[in-house]
């Protein structure tokens, strides 16, 4: 894990002083800590904050840690956020078990955070990165399969269009003077070029086409 990058941690704890304690503990590390005292607010802003990992306390008023984790796992599907439970109750094995059942990935006792917090955070960030790499790989595989199918289907149709067009002009040379003929030919070669580029796609970037549509950046 590179120490140069900054990773964002969302910390949910009803104690303001605990949040500032963690902030100063992590101040020498490449972590940006965003502390929120209300689990409800955390739920509402999680995707906007888009942290690399989430750390939560268990004992909190209104929504407790278990419920918070459960709701994150139920409602947030676009991304996977590794969650660590940080509690004074960790000596209680039932709590560990419940946390896992609710969807937590790691646990730590508040008593030994000085030694264990940073390595645990690093492990969770690695988990998140692995998860993202796997997703990207799967997506690329799917995109490539889709392109392969299209390319085969469109390739033949395009070959027919271009070939027939050439034939048409060959036997009707006067068509060459018609500007619409040139436009059709240009459009066909554009499709051809795009298909060729698509087939060479080995990684992809999305780019916003409109508010609702994303398109692939090709070549």
């Amino acid at each position: 894990m590179s120490e140069v990058s900054h990773y964002r941690i969302l910390l949910i704890d009803d104690s303001k002083s605990f949040i500032s304690g963690i902030k100063s503990l992590l101040s020498g590390h490449p972590f940006e800590v965003i502390g929120i005292t209300s689990p409800k607010e955390a739920l509402n802003t999680l995707e906007t904050i888009n942290p690399d990992i989430v750390i939560t306390d268990l004992d909190m008023p209104s929504i407790n840690g278990f419920e918070l984790i459960r709701q994150i796992r139920e409602k947030v599907h676009k991304k996977y956020y590794p969650i660590m439970v940080l509690s004074t109750r960790m000596e209680n094995l039932v709590d560990i078990s419940n946390s896992v059942d609710c969807g937590a990935d790691a646990f730590s006792s508040k008593d030994n955070i000085r030694t264990s917090l940073v390595p645990q955070i690093k492990a969770l960030i690695r988990l998140k990165q692995l998860h993202e790499t796997a997703i990207k790989g799967k997506q690329l595989e799917a995109v490539q399969a889709l392109i392969g199918t299209y390319k085969h289907e469109f390739g033949n149709s395009l070959a027919i269009l271009l070939g027939m067009f050439r034939k048409l002009i060959k036997y009707n040379p006067s068509l060459k003077e018609d500007p619409s003929v040139a436009s059709i030919q240009e459009a066909l070669s554009r499709i051809d070029t795009t298909l060729k580029k698509l087939s060479k796609l080995r990684e992809y970037k999305e780019t916003d086409y409109s508010e609702k549509t994303k398109i692939l950046k090709v070549g």
Binding site: G148, K151, H152, G155, N156, L158, A159, I160, L162, G163, M164, R166, K167, K170, D192, K196, S199, K200
Partner: protein
């Protein structure tokens, strides 16, 4: 004796276009829309070059090429060159075809034949 080319493709329109490319009376193009037609003709006559489509119903260009007389030079026409690495072919071309390149290749083989 003209330079004889066989071409197998399941797309009739592509066969039609291909035939039309060669106006030279010294080049004879015979096209086939399925493998069994090609086999029947191969029993009686041999082409100087055999062009094969890649993807065809239930079979493929490489699969067919391996079953045919190794002395006949074979050329693959495919939608995507990246996915074909097969030394059973003397050359392969991407569709839509670059006609100049194909004419060049035919010329090379014709020169060899008549020299």
């Amino acid at each position: 004796m003209p330079f004889k080319i066989f071409y197998l493709d399941d797309e009739y329109a592509l066969l039609d276009i291909f035939k039309d490319i060669f106006t030279n009376p010294n080049v004879e193009v015979i096209t086939f829309q399925n493998y069994s037609e090609l086999l029947k003709t191969l029993n009686n006559e041999k082409p100087d070059l055999l062009f094969l489509d890649n993807f065809m119903p239930n079979t493929s260009g490489p699969e067919i090429a391996k079953k045919i007389d190794p002395d006949i030079p074979k050329i693959l026409l495919t939608g995507d060159l990246d996915y074909v690495k097969d030394d059973v072919f003397v050359a392969s071309f991407e569709k839509p075809l670059n006609i100049d390149k194909i004419e060049n290749l035919i010329q090379q083989f014709a020169l060899k034949k008549y020299s």
